[in-house]
Amino acid sequence: MAGGWSLNELMSFGIAGLAGLVLALDDWRWMLLAWALMGTAGGILLQQASEIPEQLAGIQILNSTLLTLLFYLTGRRARTIAPKTLTARSMIHWRFRILAALFLHIIARMAEVRFPLPIIPPSLLVVTYTLIGIGLLIATLSRSPLRAGLGVLTMLNGYQIFYLSVQDSLLAIGLMAGMSLLVAFLTAALTLVRQEVSA
C-alpha cells in the first residue's frame, strides 16, 4: 500500500512537472511532446489510483495521443504557410513560468489538504487542481491559438481526471471526451486561420 502511495505521489509530481514544461517551453514540438506525455501519465495515474475500468484509462491515453497527432499535423501544415508566427514567444521568461507552475502545484497540495473530497483519492485531486491552474495560466499567457488551445485542453485533462473518478455514466464520460475533441478541432481550425492571415 505504502509503495503504491509513493508511486502515485511520484506520478502526480511527474504530471505537474510535465504540465510545467508545457507552460515553460517555447518550441511547439517539444511543448506537444510534453503535453502528450502528461496525458499518458494522467491515464496511468487514473488506472492505478482509482477503481475505474482499465479500458477507460486506456481511452484517456489514446485520446491524448490522437489529439497530439492532430496538433502535430496542424503545426506542420501551419509551419509551411507562415513559419515565423506559429509560436508567439511569451512575454514572461521561462524561469518565471516554471516558478509559477511550482507555485500552483504547492497551492494545489494545500487545497487538497484544506478541502479534501472523500470520494476521490488525494493524488488525483492534487493533479486535478494543478492541471486546471497551470492550464488556465497557459491559456491566459498565450498569444497563439495553438498554445491557448493546449492550455484549455490541459484544464480539461485535469478536470477529466476528477470526472472519471466520480462519474459512472459511460455516456457522460464519452461526452466529456467529445468536448476535448471539439476543443482540439477548434484549436486546429483557429491555428490554420491565424496562419493564413499572417501569410
Partner: protein
Amino acid sequence: MNFPLLILLALPLLAALVVYPLRRTPLAAPFAAAVAAALVGFLWVIPWSPTAIRPDEVILGPPLTLLGRTLRLTETDRWVLSTLWGCAALMFLTAWPFRFERRLYPIGLAAGGLWVIGFLMRPISLGVFFIGGAALLLALTLLGEGHGMEGTMQYLIAASLGFLMWVTAAWTAEQVTLNPGQPLWTALTVVLISMALVLWLGVWPAQRWVLFLFAEGAPIGAAFTVFLLNYGTWFWLLAWAQAFPWLTQIPSWNTSLQTIGVVMMLTSAVLALAERGWGMIGGYAWLASSGLSWLTLGMGTIEGIHLSAWTLGVRMVALLGLAFGLAAHRRMSGSTESGRIPLDRGPWVIALLLASGMALLDVPPFAGFTARWTLTRLLLPSHPVLSLVLIGSLGLLGWSLLRELLTPPREGAPLRPMPRSAVWFGITWWIAELLLLFLGPWLGIQFEALAKEWIRLSSLG
C-alpha cells in the same frame, strides 16, 4: 416515438450540413433563415397532443428517447424554441450583405440545434454537454476576414472554463438530491452557477471577450454568440429550476442574480469611459442592457421575472441594429474605430449605431424605456440610492456614446462606399422599433407565461 420532436431536433443539424458548402454563396443566408423560420412554424403548426405525465406537468406529445435519455417538450419550451429560432432567422438575414459573416450560417444552425438538444435533455448533467458544445462551436463564427483572433481566443477560454463550472454545478446539484441535509453541496452549486454566469455572460472581470468580439471580430457572429449565451442561459436556468426546484428557494440564488445584474450595469458604465470605438462602446451598452434582465430576474417576484422576460424580447431589435451597424462600419473602414467614418459618408451607419446604442440604454422613446422606468419604480422605495446610481450609470454610457459621435474625423485607409443595404436595413429597423412601442404590451402578455412558470417552479420547491 415522437417523430415531430425528432424532426425538430434533427433538422437544424442536417440543414447545417447543407448550408456549409453553400456558405460562400448568397444563397446561404436566406436558406439558413428559411430553415430557422420553418422550425418556428413547425412548432406551432404541428397538433401536439397534450399528455399529463404528472398532476402538475403537461408535455406536448410523448417523450422522445435519445441516447437512452428522455427529451420532453412543454408549452413553455415551445415559446423558448420559437424565440430562439425566430431570433436566429433575423440574425441570418441581418448577416446576408456581409461576406465576412459567412461562417455564421452553418455554425449558427449547428450550435442552435445542439443547444435545443441540451435544453430539452434530462438529466441536466447530460444536457450540459450539448449546451457547452454549442457555446464552444460558436467560436468559429467570430472571425471575420482574419479579424478578431484575440477575442475568439478569450472567448474560447471563457466558454471552456464556464462549461467546466456548469458540469460541476450539475454534479453538485445531483449530490444535493443524493445527500440531503448537507449545506455544502447547495452552496457549492450556487457558487459554481454564479461563476459560470460570470464567464458566459461577460460579467466584470471576465467582460473583455465581449468587447473584443464586437470591436474586432465579426459583429453579427458576436451578436449571435452573446444572444445564445444570454437568452439561452436565461431559458436554461428555467430548466435547472424545473430539475432542481430547491435551487430558486435558496436566498443566495436571487442575491447572486441581482449582484450579477448590478455589476454588469455599473462596471459597464464606468469602464466605457476609458474606452474608444463604436465596437467597444456598443459591447458595453449590450452588457449594461443585459444586466437589467438579470437584475430583474433576481428579484424573484412575478413582476420582476415578467419584466426580465419582456426585456429579452425588446433587446433583440436593438442588438440586431448594433450588429448590422458595426458590420457596415467594418465593411466601409475595415475597423470599428471612432472617427473613421464621417457622418456625411455613412449617415445611415452612424445613425444606426447611435440609435441602437440608445435603444440598448433604454432612452425614450425606445420601447426599453418602459422596462427601465418600471425597474426604477420597483427599486426606488426599497433601494433609493441604487436606483439613482443605475440611472446615473446610463448617463455615463450615454456620454460615451455621444463622445463617439463627436470624435473629429481621422485620416486612415480610404473608405469604401456605404453599403446600399444599410438604407433598407435602417428603414426596417426604425419601423421595427416603432412597432415595438405599440406591440410592447402584447409582447408582455406573451412573456407572462414564462414568468408564471418560474414562480410555479419556485413554489414547488
